[in-house]
Structure formats: C-alpha cells, structure tokens
C-alpha cells in the first residue's frame, strides 16, 4: 500500500514538473475539410516508434445502442474494455486486419478486455445494431489526441525537436502519409492546420434515422 502511494506521488510530482517545464512546447492542430468545415474525431499523433505498452487500459462504453467514444486512439499494447450499459445484449466484432475479435452476446462487463497489439485501424461494430460503429486507432506513440467539434486539438508537453505530425480520420479520402506534416518544435505553441478531404461514404441506410419507409 505504501509502496503504491509513494509510487503515485512520485509519478504525480514528476509529471507535474515535466508538464510545467514543457508546457510551452505544444502544437495546436486545427482540422478542416475541403470546405473549411471543422472535422471532429480526427486522430492527430506524432509519428514515432515507441515499444508497445502493457497494463494500459481504455474503455469504450455502449450506451443507448451507441459506442462511446466514436473514435479511440491507443498506444500499441493497450487493452480496451467494452462494458455494456444497455439493458439489452450486444455483440461486438471486428474483421479489421489489425485486430479481429468478437464478443458474443453479452451484457455488463466482458470477462476480459481486448488487447490491441498491432498498429492500424480497427473498424468495429455491433452485429445486432447495424448503425453501432466505432473506430480504434492503434499507434506506436503516446503523443496523440482527437479533434473536438470545432476541429481543434492540442499536442502538448513536447520536447524540442523535429516531429512528423500525422492525421487520420475514418472518412479521410487520402492515406495517412499524405496527411502528415513535418514540424520543428521550439519554445511556445505552434499551430498546424490539416485539411482532410472526406471521402463519400455509402449512406448508412441501416441507421434508424435513415431507414426508408417501405410499407406494404
């Protein structure tokens, strides 16, 4: 117990100092589409190759037949829990190359979390509710963030140096290499603007809102 508390204090104090020291070194990223509309749910990260982590745990909730959050970014080796907060069962699955998994019909907390140990996009969904869809993006870095509704995101606590900032989005037209920018980080805040062209997607005619009325 003591050891744990000590360790905690140690980490808190260390992280406080480092954050105070490097607070000035940050990148403010703005993501827009071709029409200059803000793009939400864009994953912004620094390209680097950190070894995979273990023990990291993230949660993707299922609330009112929706995955929350819609986009999740984790460092390789992280585990994700998929607690079901609805009164009905869900069946979560992914056929993505980076991670194929299936959580057969369940309610409450699954017995074990799913570990993501391969970089890439995982498109996951519920087999019962066609509109329930979420994305997990697995990266080899711990420097990542997700744009908000205003398309804004901040990468902070960056040491001085040269970085490659990459943006990924589920509806991005271009591959992620094309959405990368090189940047020199010095003192203070840098600003980056990413224009992410959106690809046209087939309408999710299966979502309850868009189901065409087809009576007999």
């Amino acid at each position: 117990m003591k050891i744990f508390q000590l360790a905690a204090w140690y980490f808190i104090s260390i992280s406080f100092v480092t954050s105070w020291l490097s607070h000035a070194n940050s990148i403010k990223v703005s993501v827009v589409d071709e029409k200059k509309n803000p793009v939400e749910f864009a994953v912004i990260y620094i390209k680097e190759t950190l070894p995979k982590v273990s023990g990291h745990s993230v949660v993707i909730d299922q609330v009112d037949k929706e995955f929350i959050p819609y986009v999740t970014v984790v460092q390789r080796g992280s585990a994700i829990n998929f607690p079901n907060n609805d009164e009905i069962r869900h069946q979560v699955y992914s056929f993505s190359k980076s991670k194929q998994f299936e959580l057969p019909l369940y309610s409450g907390n699954p017995s074990s979390p799913v570990v993501f140990d391969k970089n890439g996009v995982i498109a996951m969904a519920c087999n019962i509710h066609d509109w329930m869809k979420a994305y997990i993006y697995v990266v080899d870095t711990n420097k990542f963030t997700i744009s908000d509704k205003a398309g804004q995101a901040v990468l902070s606590n960056l040491a001085k140096g040269q970085y490659e900032v990459v943006v990924w989005h589920p509806k991005a037209k271009e591959s992620e290499q094309l959405n990368a920018q090189q940047i020199d980080i010095g003192d203070g805040e840098q600003k980056l603007v990413f224009i992410v062209a959106q690809k046209t997607q087939f309408k999710a005619w299966r979502s309850p809102k868009s189901v065409r009325r087809r009576g007999y």
């Binding site: 699955y93 299936e102 969904a125 869809k133 087939f202 005619w205």
Partner: protein, 635 residues
C-alpha cells in the same frame, strides 16, 4: 334500292371502324396498365432481391464467412443462401471487384467480375446499390449489387433473378397482355438491330415470330424512343404492341414487348358485326321483295301512266291504259282512261268545230266560252253561188258531185280564210262569209273585195281543170255588202250558231242574185265600195231594194288599180258618161254614147240592159220626179 346498299355498307364500315377504334382504345389502355404493372413488377422483383441481399449483408453469420475470403467456404454459403431465398445466382466480390465465389461458375475465383458496370454503378451510387438486367451465360438476369458492411464496406454481394417465361406469365396473369422480354443488338454489318427473344408468354408458332417482326420493323427504334404503340404483324395477325426500354447501353437494348391481339380484342364485337350483317341481309331481302312489289304495284303502273301522259301530250288521245289493280293507281288509271276519252272527244269536237264553223269562230268559242247574244258590229257579208252546178249534177252521180262540190268549196273557203274572212255557212253550193267578225278588221271591205276577185281568179283555174276532166264550165256569182248587223251566237241553248242578222245580210244575198241579171261576177254595194282603196270599180246601177226608200248604188270591182289597164279605165269612164246622161234623162245622148260601147263589147250584159232601158225611154218626156232608181220586182 340503289342507294340502300351503299348506305348499309357505309353503316357497316362505320360500325366496324368504331369497333376497331374502341378495341384499339381499350388495348391502348390495357397496354398502359400492363406497362405500369410491368415496371412495378420489375421494381418489386428488384426490391425483393435487394431486401434479400441486404438481409444477408447484415447477417452476422455471413460476415465472418465473407471475411474468410475462402472460395469454397464462401461458395457453399452462397449456394445455401441462394436456395434459402430462391435466387438464381449469387456472387461475392472483393471490394475492388474480383470474384471470391460465383454460384453460376462454381470454379471461378480471383478473377475480375464479368459485369464490371454493375459494380461501377453501385460504387457511384448513394447507397452503394445498383441493379441491372444482363446476360450471364446468355441467360437474362435481373441483378442487384449491395455492399457488405463489416462494418466498413468490405465486399459486394451480387444476387440475380432469372427472367423466365414464368416471370412473363405472372405478368400476363395480372394484365392479360402478352409479355416478351427482348434483347436487341446492333449488327455492325448492316447497322440494323437484331432482336432476340429471352422470355415470352407467346406460345405456338408466333412465339419466335416477334424476333423477326421486330427485326424487320424498320421504324422500330424510332417507336422505341417515343414509347409509341405500333402494330406488329405476326402470322397474319395484327398485334398492337408497345416496347418498353428496360435498359439500353452501348447500342444494346433490353426491352419488354407488351402486346395484345387486335383480333382477340375484336371478338366481343364480332357478335355485333354478325347482327349488323344479318340485319343488312334481312333488310336487303325485304328491300328486294318490297322493291319488286313496289315496282309491280307502283313503279310499273306509274311508268305506264307517264307514257300515256306523254302520248296525250303529243296529241294521241285514242289510248287506253291497262292497270288491273284495285288500288288508288287502278283508280287513277281508270280516271286517266276517262280523261283520255274526254280529251279525245274534246279534240274531235275541236276538229269538227273547225270544220263546221270557221277556225276563228271555233277558237273564240273554245276560248271565251259559248254564250247566247250578240253585239252590233259593222260587217262585210259575202255571198257566193256557183252557177250551172245543177246542170253539172245532171251528168254525174251524186257522190261525184258532192266530192266536186266539197273540193270547190274547200278551195274557195281557203281564199276567204286567207283574207281574214270566216265562213258563216254553206247553203248548198252557196257560201256565206263574214269579214270583220269575230275579230275586228279595219280593212274588212277591201279584204272582202280582194277575196271575191281572188275567188273569181281561182274559178278560172277551176274551170280549166273541169274542162280537162270533161266537166262543164261553172260560174260564180258574188254579192258583197257592208252594214251594221247584230253578230253573235244565235239559236237555242243546246244548239247555236255564230252568225249575223240584219238587212245588210239580205242586201248582200240580193246582190249575189242580181249578178246574173247584170251579167257580172261580182256586185258590191256602195257602202263597201266607199271603204275600198285602189280598186277599180264600175258603177252598174242605182236600184231600190224591196222595202227601202233610198236607192242603192251598186258596183262591179274590176281589179286592183295597179293591175288594170288604161283601156279598162277608159271603158269605165265611157260607161260612167252613159250613166250620167241616163240620170239626166238625156236618153238620146246616152244611147248615142252606149251604142259604140256595145259594138265594142257586145258580151257586156249590163250594156244591153241599159240599151233596152234607153230604147224604152225614147220619146219619154223629162220627168222631174224620176230619180233614176231602178226597181227590181223579181227576186
């Protein structure tokens, strides 16, 4: 009758045309309905297919299967599912278009899909879905493509429904129209379309004929573009057709050919045609029978009557019409015959009237009607009498005499006619003629004298003929007087005569009688002579007519002045000298002048008369009471 047949035929044609037009309108409507039903049916089939594929694309048992991308596993799953949903073909394609499994080609895998357009179309669509009609191994399919979401679009699921006769037959069950699915492709060699029948409700011989019929229909492509009805002749039967383009691409057409037999549509009207035709025949028979009856009972009698009327118009009254009918026409014929008879009698009367009375009088009688009574008119009366006729009679029989008399009277009457005189009557061989009645004639006196002279002239010719025929010569005495008389129809109400009465008539008759006495051919009263012009007269005597105080001077006309000679005028003047002396009672001197005249003209009878009178007066004293008027005592 002649007009009946064209009218009936016209009626028949009009009804037929109307029926055909109605049938066509019905067909048009039915084809329109069929077209709607066809497209609805096609859409329903497509939607059913889509539903089935969509169900599969959300089937969470299928997703892991698809994502194995194993040919055999996927194929057997597809076959299983195909049977479940009664589809005819199913494929799973990778997103980029390569075939993973194809139930119609079980061995085919990892090859590009043979209908890339379908996928291209789906990729570009809003929902990632597309449908088409296309051939797979020369079989026509209705195909749909839907993406498989797992959850991102990872595959294409293609499902197909074979367009068979059953599909067409189901449509026919609802619409009662024939349905054929046709495929047309442009032949590069000729540039025209060749048509292939894929499915059809047509049966028997005509089933394959739609291909030929369409291919040979030059204007078909045009008709297809404007979606217009057209007639397609198949096995001699007219089919009203409409072509619905289902899909057209690269000069290839999938069409639905909807057809309805015109003959079949006209079947309900056949009965009507039959009734009309039957009615036509019945009417025709009635018409022929009735027409015959009418011809026999009406037309023929009317024709006979018309011919009769024509004959009567031409003056042939002696006809009888034979119409042996007891109807109105029979009665009309009888009346007609009676009328003809009446006309014949009237014509006879008119003809006789012309013979009995002079034409002018006959005309007046006929036109003005006959009424008794008369009017006072100035008339010149001519009396003529044939001398020596009785001596002629002695040598010849009565019949011959009558014939001769009639000839003579005819010739003389003609002269009277020519001079506007009318024959009043014949009294044996004597003729009484009137001038100036009934038609007024200002030259009546002159005309009468000229007629008399002409009659005397004619007599010369008659005598020559008589001598040639061994007859005795005849003479003609004519007396003429002009006087006021009563002219009009006289007699009883049943029998009357147009004539004149008055003293003047008697004078005229008397003068005729006196011609013999004076030995002259014509004697004219002073009243007549005064109205004459340019005629040379010889005064003969002044005489007293019985019962009259005043004397009447009488003259002999010698001829028209221009036609008489100087010698004649001198003779007249010489005798006038004698007469003057006679009237002065200078007997000696008168006789002295007369004697040489007698020597010169011994045949002149009245010279002798005066010679006797003068000889008798020789030595008679002058008597102042003597008026020089000679009184004839004998009639």
């Amino acid at each position: 009758m002649v007009i009946f047949i064209p009218i009936q035929l016209l009626l028949f044609i009009v009804i037929r045309d109307a029926n055909i037009a109605t049938a066509r309108a019905n067909i048009d409507e039915a084809l329109q309905v069929t077209a709607d039903v066809f497209f609805k049916s096609l859409a329903q089939h497509r939607d059913a297919l889509l539903s089935k594929v969509r169900a599969l694309s959300t089937d969470y048992a299928f997703k892991p299967v698809a994502n194995t991308n194993e040919h055999k596993t996927v194929l057997s799953t597809l076959i299983s599912y195909q049977q479940r949903v009664e589809a005819d073909v199913m494929l799973l394609l990778a997103m980029e278009g390569n075939i993973i499994a194809d139930t119609s080609h079980p061995l085919l895998t990892n090859e590009p899909f043979y209908l890339p357009l379908l996928i291209e179309q789906a990729s570009n669509s809003e929902y990632g879905e597309a449908d088409t009609i296309a051939f797979i191994d020369k079989q026509p399919y209705l195909l749909v493509a839907v993406p498989l979401f797992s959850p991102e679009p990872s595959h294409w699921i293609v499902m197909g429904f074979l367009l068979t006769d059953v599909f067409a037959q189901n449509l026919q069950k609802i619409t009662k129209s024939d349905v054929s699915i046709m495929f047309g492709s442009k032949l590069t060699s000729t540039g025209s379309y060749q048509w292939l029948q894929l499915a059809s409700t047509l049966t028997g011989d005509i089933r394959q004929l739609s291909e030929q019929a369409l291919t040979s229909k030059a204007s078909f492509e045009q008709a297809l573009k404007v979606n217009q009805n057209f007639d397609l002749l198949m096995a001699g039967q007219s089919y009203v057709s409409v072509a619905l383009p289902i899909r057209s691409e690269n000069e290839e057409y999938f069409i639905a050919l909807l057809q309805r037999s015109l003959a079949l549509a006209l079947v309900p009207y056949e009965d009507l045609h039959l009734i009309v035709a039957f009615g036509f025949v019945i009417a025709l028979i009635l018409l022929i029978v009735g027409g015959n009856f009418i011809a026999r009972k009406i037309t023929e009698p009317v024709t006979v009557l018309a011919q009769g009327a024509e004959k009567i118009e031409q003056g042939h009254y002696d006809l009888t019409i034979e119409v042996n009918q007891n109807d109105e026409l029979g009665q009309l014929a009888q009346r007609f015959n009676a009328m003809a008879k009446g006309l014949a009698e009237r014509a006879k009367v008119r003809s006789l009237l012309g013979k009995v009375v002079s034409p002018a009088i006959a005309e007046q009688l006929l036109n003005k009607g006959v009424e008794l009574g008369g009017e006072e008119r100035e008339v010149t009366i001519l009396f003529s009498d044939i001398r020596n006729f009785t001596s002629l009679c002695e040598t010849h029989n009565a019949k011959e005499m009558l014939k001769l008399l009639n000839q003579l009277l005819t010739r003389l009457s003609k002269i009277i006619d020519v001079h506007h005189g009318v024959i009043d009557k014949y009294i044996g061989d004597a003729v009484m003629a009137l001038f100036g009645v009934p038609i007024k004639d200002d030259l009546q006196a002159q005309n009468t004298v000229l007629a008399a002279l002409a009659m005397q002239q004619e007599l010369v010719a008659i005598n020559q003929e008589l001598i040639v025929n061994n007859f005795v010569e005849i003479g003609l005495g004519i007396g003429i007087n002009t006087a006021q008389v009563i002219a009009g129809n006289m007699g009883s109400s049943t029998r009357l005569n147009y004539t004149v009465i008055g003293d003047g008539v008697n004078v005229s008759s008397r003068l005729e009688g006196l011609t013999k006495y004076y030995g002259v051919s014509i004697l004219v009263s002073e009243a007549t002579k005064l109205q004459c012009k340019d005629i040379l007269f010889q005064e003969i005597d002044t005489m007293r007519v019985k019962g009259k105080k005043l004397g009447l001077t009488i003259y002999q006309p010698l001829g028209v002045l221009s036609g008489t000679s100087q010698k004649e005028s001198e003779q007249v003047a010489a005798f006038n000298q004698v007469l003057m002396l006679y009237k002065k009672q200078a007997w000696q001197q008168a006789l002295a002048l007369l004697t040489p005249l007698i020597k010169q003209f011994p045949a002149t009878t009245y010279y002798q008369v005066y010679s006797e009178r003068l000889h008798a007066k020789q030595g008679v004293e002058f008597d102042e009471n003597w008026d020089g008027i000679f009184t004839h005592f004998e009639k």
